[in-house]
């Protein structure tokens, strides 16, 4: 009986210690560079697989990209001052459309470099944020692509992609701001929807 109690106590302690250890390791999760490398490599593997049918490929790419990017944070950031003016329904609508559009854009941009070697050149940690530098080695030049990530729980999530010194999120922000100013949310939404339709049509990518 006493032994049983002791064993029970031991297990409890063990469980608590294990839990603490898990939490502790979760707190400094994986290195951002390792996480980006996993995601980018998976994306490139899918893009290089020429046997996958178009629809299956898109679905699998979505499954890899969606959890690695924080589209909600990005869409707030992209809308900027317009975020406050937007109704909750408009915010939701925008976040959904933007996720679709950015995913397609990112795939489009990285697709051009499917056959090139990608090097992971370094990471810079700054508290809850980090930057991961990659370089695409083409025959004639090195193209720098930087992923800006922040920590959310156990993962490092991408909140911006900077290609050759051009931040996509900053770019969208000024572009969308101009469109909203001239055409309002309805104009922006219809343009986004039209673009997504175009991008999703197979064979349109040439």
């Amino acid at each position: 009986m006493r032994t049983a109690k002791r064993i029970h106590k031991f297990f409890c302690q063990f469980a608590v210690t294990a839990l603490l250890l898990m939490v502790a390791s979760g707190a400094n999760a994986a290195e951002p560079l390792a996480e980006i490398r996993t995601t980018v490599d998976e994306v490139l593997t899918l893009l290089r697989n020429k046997n996958l049918p178009h629809e299956a490929r898109r679905q699998q790419l979505t499954a890899v990209i969606r959890p690695a990017f924080d589209f909600e944070v990005m869409s707030q950031w992209v809308l900027g001052t317009n975020w406050r003016k937007a109704s909750p329904a408009e915010r939701k609508r925008f976040a959904d459309l933007f996720a679709d559009l950015l995913e397609a854009t990112y795939i489009g941009k990285i697709e051009a470099y499917t056959d090139e070697r990608v090097e992971y050149t370094g990471q810079k940690l700054e508290g809850e944020r980090a930057e991961v530098d990659t370089q695409v080695k083409t025959a004639s030049a090195d193209i720098p692509i930087r992923y800006k990530v922040f920590r959310k729980g156990e993962r490092w999530l991408v909140y911006d992609v900077v290609i050759e010194e051009v931040s996509l999120v900053r770019n969208y922000r000024s572009t969308y701001d101009e469109i909203v100013r001239k055409e309002g949310f309805p104009g922006l939404f219809s343009r986004m929807e039209e673009k997504i339709r175009e991008l999703k049509t197979p064979g349109a990518a040439s």
């Binding site: 950031w77 051009a112 025959a139 090195d142 050759e164 900053r170 000024s174 673009k195």
Partner: protein
């Protein structure tokens, strides 16, 4: 040659004039990011470094017209020629590109010196010496491949920016594409730093530049097609991308 030089000085004057006005006129944003009030929780945390650029574009209708013209030029002339060039094996085209890059080395070197970047200047000089000799007249970029010293873009527009010149108004140049008042003046400055105009007559120069440009386009991964395909408004995308990139280049 002499007449060309005179007309270029005139052109320079005409371009500096609006640039001067641009400096005098209240520039709503210039190169500096605008710090507005924070508008979302995310912005409060990330705002400082991520502020968008505001590009001053007072002649937008004109620029959009030239953008439209360049777009047609690209799809109906420049791109088909570049696509034809792709029958030439890629390594050969990379070498042609390297050759022209190497010839333009004095432009980068001079601008490094003008900005007091001695380390970059000596890198550039070393690249020129190695690539011109061991790289067989610049056909091979061995400084990058063997020495790990890559080309660093420098031009007179960056030099002007380095000394505090703002970008002035946004300008789309026929054929050359996105630019601004400062960088257009910079192009003229680079013309005088470039050795080619001194060695070639006008038609030879135009021919050489055309070959260089078409060759680059043949190596490009259809960047412009990608932008046209993905972006809601390619004009706005390129305008902002150009501003961001130039700001980053000048800051380096």
């Amino acid at each position: 040659m002499k007449r060309t030089a005179t007309s270029l000085v005139l052109l320079l004057f005409l371009l500096v004039l609006p640039a001067g006005l641009a400096v005098a006129a209240p520039d709503p944003a210039g190169d500096l990011p605008v710090t507005g009030e924070a508008t979302s929780p995310f912005e409060e945390a990330f705002g400082e470094e991520e502020a968008p650029l505001k590009v001053w574009d007072p002649i937008e209708p004109v620029n959009r017209g030239i953008f439209w013209f360049n777009d047609k030029l690209y799809f109906y002339l420049l791109k088909p020629v570049a696509r034809g060039l792709r029958v030439v094996p890629e390594p050969a085209r990379v070498s042609v590109g390297n050759f022209f890059d190497n010839l333009a080395s004095p432009v980068r070197f001079a601008n490094d010196l003008l900005q007091g970047k001695l380390k970059d200047a000596s890198d550039e000089l070393a690249r020129f010496v190695f690539n011109s000799t061991f790289g067989i007249a610049g056909l091979f970029d061995i400084a990058r491949e063997q020495g790990g010293v890559s080309k660093k873009e420098e031009d007179f527009g960056q030099t002007l920016g380095h000394y505090g010149s703002g970008p002035g108004f946004y300008l789309v140049l026929p054929l050359f594409g996105p630019s601004n008042a400062r960088d257009a003046v910079g192009r003229v400055g680079d013309y005088f730093l470039d050795p080619l105009p001194y060695a070639l007559d006008n038609w030879e120069l135009i021919g050489a530049k055309a070959v260089d440009k078409e060759n680059d386009l043949s190596l490009d991964k259809d960047t412009y097609e990608g932008i046209k395909r993905d972006e809601l408004d390619p004009y706005l995308f390129i305008r902002d991308a150009y501003a961001q990139r130039r700001q980053a280049q000048i800051a380096k």
